[in-house]
């Protein structure tokens, strides 16, 4: 009996020691329907691994990429798609989206992206705000988006957990969650936190106040981790005599970062602030995965490359804030080419308009780089919206490139994806055709769109 009690006690409290077990709550329930066998032939393929196949085939089977090459044998029961004159790329991944947490229509009642009531809100999770029936999601699917990462907003120094979602219709957010994707944590530098809290005459009201705020939070996280470790190091008998430390949602998330299980996604515009954030990461021994909105990444591209940090940038947005004043069109290309082409550049949207054509945004950034003498072929630029965001989200072993064994997330384009005139023709998520340009019943409308203008039809 005693033994049973011990098991129950351990069973109840063991999540304190292993933060991976905490994630048992809200687990992904996503399971793709069966894809069957599909052979795409005669396509011009940008693989996402850095190479291009001028005319090749891809075999999809059981939701995975089974083969890719110049010529493949036709399996007996495979559905054949002739992609002559068309291009195939991996499914596009947007590492910075607020779909679901800032849905359309943009109403206060569903504006759920910023818990701007305290500068450190590591305890909130973006997925708990996601409205799965946001009509922006099928629009993004038509733009080739197969995976997107939803973040809390940037009002706070530490804004809460982000979540990686498959771009599929689902009644529940659990049904959209990318299986096995690590959690992320949103942090924000610069103007936003100091504006939001400074206006209320509370800390932080300056950039130095911001930095003090991050460090204070990490110190509390270290203390909490030590307290957990101390409890865990005790004998079973000693544990029975005292309560385990009380769960703390905020510090659990921060400890997850210190343990390397939760990836930092850091909104940060200015070069010097990125360098400061990297030093904070060294001080507390965690890793920054990506700087988002990194307008000045080109100023510190070598430092980012040395530290293995990605920069997620826009092609040309600027001027909406002072810290967005120093934009250059070559930003992504300079980041990419840093330290002997070892940089990690990502093009992100932060916009329901931009997410529909990350291919065009990458095209602009690629063209700007090439115009300035940096040699960025399409096979490399496509990685800015596929493999690189997959790496930065910790899902590159599963998606982000067209490689055997990976999820069959891919797009057939009706032409060169780096052209304004090109549209997606077919979008597959896990080998399932969710958007087909020739089928007006796709993509599946969200609930919101049913009977909304025309009571007998869908929104459009």
């Amino acid at each position: 009996m005693k033994k049973l009690i011990v098991i129950v006690v351990i069973g109840t409290f063991s999540f304190l020691t292993l933060s991976s077990e905490e994630t048992n709550a809200f687990e992904s329930t996503y399971e793709p329907s069966s894809s069957g066998d599909i052979l795409i032939e005669n396509a011009r393929i940008l693989t996402g691994t850095g190479s291009e196949i001028l005319s090749g085939s891809i075999l999809i089977s059981s939701n995975k990429i089974r083969a890719i090459g110049e010529t493949l044998d036709k399996p007996i029961n495979a559905k054949i798609i002739d992609a002559n004159g068309k291009w195939v790329t991996p499914g596009i991944i947007d590492i910075h989206s607020h779909m679901g947490v800032y849905p359309a229509p943009g109403l206060r009642s569903s504006s759920d992206g910023n818990e701007s009531t305290s500068p450190v809100t590591a305890h909130v999770w973006a997925e708990h705000s996601v409205w799965t029936q946001d009509p922006q999601m099928p629009l993004a699917l038509m733009g080739g988006i197969t995976t997107f990462h939803v973040l809390p907003g940037s009002a706070n120094l530490i804004g809460g957990r982000g979540v990686t979602l498959k771009n599929i219709w689902s009644r529940t957010v659990q049904g959209m969650k990318f299986p096995g994707a690590p959690y992320t944590l949103k942090m924000a530098c610069g103007e936003n936190p100091k504006r939001v809290y400074g206006r209320r005459n509370s800390e932080p009201s300056t950039r130095m106040g911001n930095v003090a705020g991050y460090r204070k939070a990490w110190i509390r996280a270290q203390d909490y981790r030590n307290k957990l470790a101390e409890y865990e190091s005790k004998s079973e008998e000693a544990k029975e005599l005292e309560y385990a430390p009380t769960r703390d949602l905020e510090l659990e998330t921060l400890v997850g970062v210190l343990n390397g299980e939760i990836l930092i996604q850091n909104h940060c515009y200015r070069g010097e602030e990125m360098a400061v954030m990297l030093d904070i990461a060294k001080e507390f021994n965690y890793k920054v995965t990506t700087f988002h909105h990194a307008i000045e990444a080109y100023k510190v591209a070598d430092i980012l490359a040395e530290n293995g940090v990605c920069a997620a940038v826009w092609a040309d947005w600027w001027g909406f804030k002072h810290e967005a004043f120093d934009m250059v069109w070559e930003n992504a290309a300079i980041v990419d080419q840093a330290n002997g082409s070892t940089g990690c550049a990502i093009i992100h949207s932060d916009s329901a308009v931009g997410i529909q054509r990350l291919n065009q945004e990458a095209a602009k950034a690629m063209a700007a780089g090439n115009r300035s003498g940096l040699n960025i072929p399409p096979s490399r630029a496509i990685q800015w919206i596929t493999l690189n965001p997959a790496k930065a989200l910790g899902i590159a072993s599963k998606t982000g490139s067209l490689e055997v064994g990976k999820m069959a997330d891919l797009v057939i384009w009706d032409g060169d994806p780096f052209s304004v005139y090109t549209k997606t023709e077919k979008v597959f998520v896990d080998g399932v055709l969710l958007y087909d340009n020739n089928n007006p019943l796709t993509p599946k409308s969200t609930d919101f769109e049913l009977g909304i203008i025309n009571s007998e039809g869908d929104r459009l």
Binding site: F320, I334, L374, T422, I453, R459
Partner: protein, 410 residues
């Protein structure tokens, strides 16, 4: 200075002044998109004299022209940005850099005196292909104020092309019913019509006619009177189909020239817009159903409106990247708008609708505001190589490029 030197300088200045009396530029062998009914002309020359286009054709020769070979390049008229805050906003979130809003004046706000030709946004958008901006205030009240046309030359003295050419109004947003705003729009126009200059200065306007809390200065009323007299058009931001119909009716009843800005559900009332000959300013890149007033927003709106015969003007929804109107135009093309109509939407149609004389297309007698592109101007990978304003080659450098040059070689 000796005599010889004086004579030499005298002759030189005579030579220079006689040359500048009749200065010629000849652009050779370009693909020329005229934005006129002549369409696109391959391997064509453009002769410019004293800043004005004089001839377009093959194998033009001129002994005194400064000749530039632009083979393999593409030429368009300079793009015109409809309704931006170019020159009156530097950084959106920094109020002290903004001159685009006023609580003091409403309809009567003319922003000419605040326009800053040295704003960093001006060379930046010039290098994006924009040569003229219809700069407008953006106050959020019923009336935002008056639009003026500026060249993006950066000239401290000669940027203003045409002053107070349109009045902007908003009837969406805020707490008050849209119906109340349409009524107030009508009452305001009626009041301006009944009040002459002298009477305005004498009377206590705000007790006589308008609801409580609505105040106009004489300057506001004079701006409204220009709309009533059809001297300038009224530009109203509206997206919902039923609201567009209301405004079409309003324009008829009040006998004014109307331009609809936004018109995201315009495709649902395209026939009525065409019949009433009301042009629309579109931001074709935006298909998000952002509010219950634009649930029908869609990417083929421009194409459907054009098919119905509506005149289309194409803009960008952000001032800093006003030049991205060309990407929006390209997207409209990919959803069915004919390419040449998209180009007209960025140039000729804007000049026509806002009565900016002799600009917006490449034809004899027109001002030589010309952009030389590396390729298709609507394509996202193309870029601007040269810009001519009134026939003068201007710098295509901007602050962003200077920053790039500092860091790219590190």
């Amino acid at each position: 200075m000796n005599l010889h030197k004086k004579i030499f300088i005298g002759l030189l200045s005579l030579l220079i002044s006689s040359f500048s009396l009749s200065e010629e530029l000849l652009l050779k062998n370009a693909k020329v998109h005229t934005a006129t009914d002549r369409g696109t002309l391959e391997k064509t020359d453009i002769l410019i004299r004293d800043g004005v286009i004089v001839r377009i054709g093959k194998n033009i020769a001129s002994s005194r022209a400064d000749e530039r070979d632009v083979s393999g390049k593409v030429i368009t008229p300079g793009l015109i940005a409809p309704l931006t805050q170019l020159g009156i906003v530097e950084i959106e979130l920094v109020p002290e850099t903004r001159d685009d809003r006023s609580d003091i004046y409403s309809a009567g706000l003319s922003i000419d005196s605040a326009f800053n030709p040295s704003s960093t946004l001006i060379p930046y958008n010039l290098t994006g292909g924009i040569t003229l901006s219809l700069t407008s205030p953006s106050s959020s009240g019923l009336f935002s104020g008056l639009t003026s046309v500026f060249s993006l030359s950066g000239s401290l003295e000669e940027s203003l092309i045409s002053s107070n050419i349109a009045l902007s109004a908003n009837i969406s947003g805020g707490e008050d019913s849209m119906a109340a705003k349409v009524q107030l729009l009508g009452d305001s126009l009626a009041l301006s019509d009944s009040v002459g200059l002298n009477k305005c200065l004498e009377m206590d306007l705000n007790k006589s006619f308008l609801p409580n809390g609505v105040n106009y200065s004489c300057r506001d009323l004079f701006a409204l009177k220009k709309v009533v007299d059809k001297e300038i058009p009224l530009v109203v931001r509206a997206n919902r189909a039923s609201v567009i119909l209301t405004l079409i009716d309003f324009a008829k009843t009040n006998n004014i020239n109307l331009i609809i800005n936004g018109a995201e559900e315009g495709w649902r009332v395209s026939r009525q817009l065409a019949e009433a000959e009301i042009p629309v300013i579109l931001q074709p890149i935006d298909n998000i159903p952002n509010s219950f007033n634009e649930l029908g927003s869609r990417l083929d709106n421009a194409s459907l409106l054009h098919k119905a015969g509506v005149k289309i003007l194409i803009g960008s929804h952000e001032t800093h990247n006003a030049y991205l109107s060309r990407q929006g135009a390209g997207i409209a093309v990919s959803y069915g708008l004919p390419w040449k109509e998209a180009l007209k939407g960025l140039t000729k149609n804007i000049a026509e609708v806002f009565k900016i004389d002799n600009r917006g297309s490449i034809q004899p007698g027109y001002v030589a505001d010309i952009v030389v592109w590396s390729g298709d101007p609507l394509e996202v990978t193309s870029f601007v190589e040269q810009v001519y304003l009134s026939g003068e080659s201007v710098s295509t450098k901007n602050r962003s490029m200077r920053l790039k040059e500092r860091y790219i070689s590190q």
